[in-house]
């Protein structure tokens, strides 16, 4: 099974599989053996984590990402407020200094429901497709989607309550998102209405910011409460078809997070902060198939693992441009 097929299968909801011995490169095999034989490894991790507990590294990337996310959404708001026509419209479709942009999932819903594509929509869709292919696909989720930010705050609350044993996370089957994607596509095609747009928190929040909030925000609040009290990050993890659409776009993107086996201690800190921990299955001891492993398509390139890893074993990579950051 190729790296890409594996990445796509996991994006669609398959659980990561342990590599068979012949899938692991000889160099990686040797490192796995050395790690297992290293009796002081656990001790090293303990020291490492104790160090981190005292000097908790700031989540620099997270702050930058939040700034970018807020800035993009503010640009819509300010552009309309001041009537400067810089970024007109909302996240579903917009014009950036006159150039058409269309959210890929919204455009898909419209195309399926209307069964007709006007040239402006086609231009907007192709532009955005190229943009997010270059930038990594689900990068949209963590760097632009306003629901993602609210959900991150809800997640902080969830984790705080979980620590106090007030709430418990109830995971769902990850294949649910694929089913949602298919069902909403079929619904648009069959009913002729963009059914998903009715409940899309991304569209609802984007419009609320720009044109003023309405009763649709109640739906968003219900989703957030569900995530705080019942299931951590449920919408982004198990439901949102937008995430899957962008995941598919970014599957072959040159922009990725890359894992480096040679410096990894297998502490597992990265998996604790990750929105989609299945993409980090490779960091578990004995699972890496090579020394440098590209993280799969479901990764939102949020960079929390990059920030969190005590040994810098996870880095951003832009193929053809050398290592970034």
């Amino acid at each position: 099974m190729s790296q890409l097929t594996r990445s796509l299968a996991e994006l669609l909801g398959r659980d990561p599989k342990k590599p068979t011995p012949d899938e692991i490169s000889p160099e990686a095999k040797q490192l796995h053996t050395e790690a297992r034989a290293d009796k002081s490894r656990i001790e090293k991790i303990r020291i490492e984590l104790a160090e981190q507990a005292v000097h908790k590294p700031p989540e620099k990337l997270r702050r930058k990402r939040w700034a970018v996310l807020i800035l993009v959404n503010l640009l819509f708001v300010v552009s309309y407020l001041l009537d400067i026509q810089l970024l007109e419209g909302a996240l579903t479709a917009s014009r950036f200094v006159g150039f058409h942009m269309a959210d890929l999932n919204s455009a898909l819903q419209v195309m399926l429901a209307y069964k007709h594509v006007v040239i402006n929509l086609l231009i907007g869709t192709v532009t955005v497709f190229i943009m997010w292919w270059l930038l990594g696909g689900r990068t949209f989720c963590s760097w632009v989607c306003p629901y993602h930010l609210l959900a991150e705050w809800a997640e902080m609350l969830h984790e705080y309550l979980a620590k106090k044993k007030i709430v418990k996370d109830h995971p769902f089957d990850r294949r649910a998102r694929t089913w949602f994607w298919i069902i909403f596509a079929v619904l648009a095609l069959v009913t002729g209405y963009t059914v998903y747009e009715t409940i899309s928190p991304t569209g609802i929040i984007s419009r609320a910011l720009i044109y003023g909030p309405g009763i649709a925000m109640i739906w968003v609040i219900l989703l957030l409460l569900f995530e705080i009290f019942y299931s951590r990050r449920a919408w982004c993890r198990y439901a949102c078809p937008i995430g899957l659409t962008y995941g598919l776009v970014g599957a072959t993107s040159p922009f990725k997070v890359q894992y480096h086996l040679d410096s990894c201690f297998h502490e597992g800190e990265c998996r604790k902060v990750c929105l989609v921990p299945h993409v980090l299955d490779t960091v578990i001891m004995g699972r890496a198939r090579g020394i440098h492993v590209d993280i799969g398509a479901d990764c939102t390139r949020c960079g929390r693992c990059v920030d969190t890893c005590p040994t810098s074993s996870l880095t951003f990579k832009f193929k053809g441009l050398g290592k970034l950051l």
Partner: protein
């Protein structure tokens, strides 16, 4: 064997629970989204859509709910629908009584802004639009029918609606309350009709923007004299074939409740 069974039972149970939970999530979310069907099928609210809007079903299918039409409208006539309109959430509409479309942009800016063609790109001029047809719903309260004039601000001092008065400012719409009237017999619906204004301009040899294509081929509204024995001159508004349903007559009508209303279900049959 017995021992293995004991160990795997909680695991199997957890997996079954997770599966059932996931099915419930699916039913919940799909169900919630399909609730949006109810207001649409029941036609709880029938909206006046912006110029160039396709037929209601096609319009809702093609509208991407981005609000670019809202942003370009010079009189801010376009609003976005709420969640109580189901699948229509985020779709643009015009509340004509509060703020009608007076075509003061001349070039149908909302049509040009629409990225999906939900407002069809096939039309260029105000008279080519087909938003609905005005209906005289309360003729008995019409000032002209009663033979009365009108003096003052058409909709009172608190009204925030705007219109473009060419004689005041060719480019900038102003508040209706800043433009009081003094009329012997009320003819506001005819006087402010954007189609009638254009016809008058064209007849005077001055079509908007000097473009003869801007000239509407048909009249939209006129006042007809009511023949009776009394001395007072009385007239009634009559809607003609050129009406595009823009809603200005509904907005400007000084009577409460309005004498004229837009019927967006009616159409001249040129809607794409």
């Amino acid at each position: 064997m017995h021992k293995a069974n004991k160990q795997s039972r909680p695991v199997a149970q957890r997996a079954r629970r997770k599966f059932l939970r996931s099915v419930a999530l699916g039913v919940g979310i799909i169900g919630a989204s399909l609730l949006g069907f109810i207001p649409v099928l029941q036609q709880w609210v029938v909206r006046l859509r912006p110029p160039g809007a396709l037929g209601e079903q096609k319009f809702l299918a093609s509208c991407i709910k981005c609000g670019q039409c809202v942003q370009v409208c010079p009189v801010k006539a376009i609003k976005l629908a709420e969640l109580d309109e189901g699948f229509g959430v985020g779709s643009p509409y015009i509340d004509a009584r509060a703020q009608a479309c007076d075509f003061s942009c001349d070039g149908l800016q909302c049509v040009l802004a629409c990225p999906t063609g939900a407002l069809t790109h096939e039309i260029n001029y105000p008279h080519e639009t087909d938003m609905g047809i005005a209906k005289v719903v309360r003729p008995e309260s019409c000032l002209a029918v009663r033979g009365q004039g009108f003096k003052g601000q058409a909709r009172g001092t608190a009204f925030r609606g705007k219109l473009r008065y060419e004689e005041v400012d060719r480019w900038k719409p102003i508040l209706v309350r800043d433009h009081p009237y003094d009329l012997e017999l009320c003819d506001l619906c005819v006087r402010q009709c954007p189609i009638e204004i254009r016809i008058t301009q064209c007849e005077a040899g001055k079509p908007p923007s000097g473009d003869e294509n801007q000239c509407p081929p048909q009249h939209a509204i006129r006042l007809e004299t009511i023949e009776d024995a009394s001395d007072t001159k009385r007239m009634r508004p009559v809607i003609l074939d050129g009406c595009v349903g823009c809603g200005v007559c509904e907005m400007i009508c000084p009577v409460e409740p309005t004498v004229i209303e837009m019927d967006s279900r009616s159409s001249r049959g040129i809607r794409v």
